[in-house]
């Protein structure tokens, strides 16, 4: 066991866990933030995407020891009240069906827009191809990313 401290959604967080334990399970089972989803455990589906020092990472394949001292943002911390441009755009387009992949889609899209405020379709394909959606919402996701970009360069 090891005591690991990092910043979670803007606040300091300490956990006492096995250092190899993936960030995903620390978030979900130890801390109780369940907005970040388990889908594959092998960084193949993107459902567990969070921001680590501003970069999108697959939390299922990120050992907690590598998070020490860093900043983690999850879907719960993306905005105070669901007001991040991607969340507003997702609501306007009414993207989710089952919704299980959408935390990951939103986190990947927010990271894309932070890096590239006006993405092309090709940029969206490249950034979002790692996020599977079994309900087939891709066309709505694409429209919502463009809509968020049109709001204010995707910045909250």
């Amino acid at each position: 066991m090891a005591n690991i401290t990092f910043t979670l959604n803007g606040a300091s967080q300490s956990v006492d866990v096995v250092p190899e334990m993936p960030l995903l399970w620390v978030l979900r089972d130890v801390i109780g933030l369940t907005g970040t989803k388990f889908g594959c455990g092998m960084a193949l589906c993107g459902a567990c995407t969070v921001h680590l020092d501003g970069q999108p990472v697959r939390s299922c394949s990120t050992p907690i020891k590598s998070v020490a001292g860093k900043r983690v943002v999850t879907i719960e911390g993306l905005s105070p009240n669901g007001t991040h441009p991607v969340q507003r755009a997702w609501m306007e387009v009414d993207v989710p069906q089952c919704g299980y992949c959408q935390s990951g889609q939103l986190m990947t899209a927010a990271a894309l827009l932070a890096r590239k405020p006006k993405p092309t379709d090709a940029d969206i394909d490249e950034a979002m191809r790692g996020n599977l959606c079994r309900c087939g919402t891709y066309q709505s996701v694409r429209a919502a990313v463009h809509r968020a970009a049109a709001m204010n360069g995707g910045r909250s």
């Binding site: 089972d29 879907i75 997702w90 089952c98 309900c135």
Partner: protein, 706 residues
Amino acid sequence: MTRGIDRRWFLKASAAATGGLLVGIYLPEAGEVVLDAQFGPPGGGPIVPSAFIRIGTDDVVTLIVHKPDNGQGTETSIAQLLAEELDCDWSRIKTEFAPINAALYGGALQGTFGSMAIRTTYDPMRRTGAAARDMLMQAAASRWNIQKSQCRTENGAVINTVTNARLSYGSLAEAAAKLPVPANITLKDPAQFKLIGKPLQRVDTPAKVTGKATFGIDVRLPGMLHAVVARCPVFDGKVARFDATKAKAVPGVTHVVEIPQGIAVVAENTWAAMEGRRVLQVEWDEGPNAKLSSPEIRQRLLTLTTTEGGGVAEQHGDFAKALAAVSQPIEATYEAPYLAHARLEPHACVAQIKDGVCEIWTGTQIPGQAHSTAVQASGLKPDQVRVHTTYMGGSYGSRGGGPFVMEAVEVAKATNRPIKVTYSRDDELQHDLYRPASAVRFMAALDTEGWPAAWFARIACPTWMGLRNGVARESVEGIAEYDIPNVKVEYHDPKLPIPTGYWRSVGLSQNTFFAESFVDELAARGKKDPVELRRRLYAKSPRLLAVLNLAAEKADWGKPLPAGRFRGVAAVAGFGSFNAQVAEVSIEQGRVRVHRVVCAVDCGRVINPTGVIQQAQGAMVYGLSAALRGNITIDRGRVAESNFHQYEPLRMNEMPVVDVHIVSSTAAPGGMGELTTPPIAAAVGNAIFAGTGKRIRRLPFSLEKI
């Protein structure tokens, strides 16, 4: 429109336990005997405190949804039906998923399946809303001392048309609860609809974009432990012996227990449980299927397609005579593989047994089945078992409420702790109820003008529903739905031990590919345009014909495409709805690329157009993923694929543009959850043939070099 209430839809009303009005309705699917036993004869006895509409004295209107939402928006569209006739303020409604109640919500079949959520509720839900509205008006009329006919409703309030006074539903709820349910209910003229037919935002969207929506896998109870189960990888195998020493040495692991389904490793968190399972030592008794692999399964299916004497599923005209009349019958054999559902949320179920009550929290299509499973596993009485239905991270047919509920209850019993059982991705792919692998042999004859005169299909396909007159109906549906004078369909059960079950669109998922591809072969052989031939074959189904023509028109069928692009068409009638698709494809380095799909839909009256478009796109993508590379293979009795690198759904960069065109209709609502899955494989295959002359008769397309 005024109609007497059908007794099967007997309405009940009472004061809500928390004050206010509660209106319920007897559902036709529940059956009268159960209802009367539960409630006594109509008109007597109190109603249980769960129904469809709850109006609080605080003006909050709660709409209770008894069809779980797999993602297809039943929570929103059923609420629209109730709220439309109730005339309440949509911005102030709340929704809840219904608890288990056999009489009110359908008992063992309380659930969402068969694309029936809207088809079975369109009328009853509207009547429920209208009854509540009528009672509120009567309560207001009494208070004002005027006739009910002098009242109208608007946005959650009754208006006095004489004085323009206004009483909110909340202020009338308690008085209304004391009134009898009206004998006659007037439903709105559809021309007056304010909510039905409107693209209202889904009620679950805000929670699903903020991470707040609770799925089964998200449920947490105080003192809960996390479990994963080691199951024999070979179907029908079992535990021979196991040694828990290494698993128990993993930090966080608390219990290792044997249950009927295998060995459960229980821990303080999911990851520790998975780590414990990874090092658990189990020796399996692999049982009778340990040598069965895909090549042998394939051979068994193909052999049966050339074996006489199958069950006769369909026969009209004289197929044999029509075939004998031509010198060269057209023959072809088609094949489809096993498929997993691969919903993104793995199965998960929380079970707690405490003070003689077993409670279940899970995302399930069929809470009624989850309830009976938990009753059986816990050994408790039905009224001692409660099921809490959460959101589901996809379902597509097999999130019934069977094995994963059973496992959670078994582990909760064995550990005496609240337990969450979670499936890993390999559990999901390797312990599913699969869409069956199948094969069909077609024979057909054309008349002298090149039109189909005879159609024969012999299908070999495993069944999980059993045979009636030697035929598994779900295995032959959609294989011969054409206006052809001489038809025969035969069926063989290959009796394979791989567990199978409902997969989005069931038998149509493969049979529409088979039949709509073979139709294209007949078009080519008879030198007919594929749309022209279909117009003739669909002649007896005007609505199918209409979506075919609409799709062809919107796709510019017959007009030139850019070099390297090709079109294919296919259509289906099913679930009370009609769909035609035109796919536009190219071949890039031997691989199929789908650029655009024009999708024409007639699903009768539309409740929520956004929902229809979502389902049209989504169900098509589900079929396209399977067509391009969906393939579950069996290796020595076990599933070879373990994760998304081996069973990879369509990704964003492969998503075609989908143009959905909805036929405006006042016909009864049809189903949308499965409608567009069946045609896409044939539309793409037919486009590949149009472009390359190569006819692909085996799914997925990735198996063949194009």
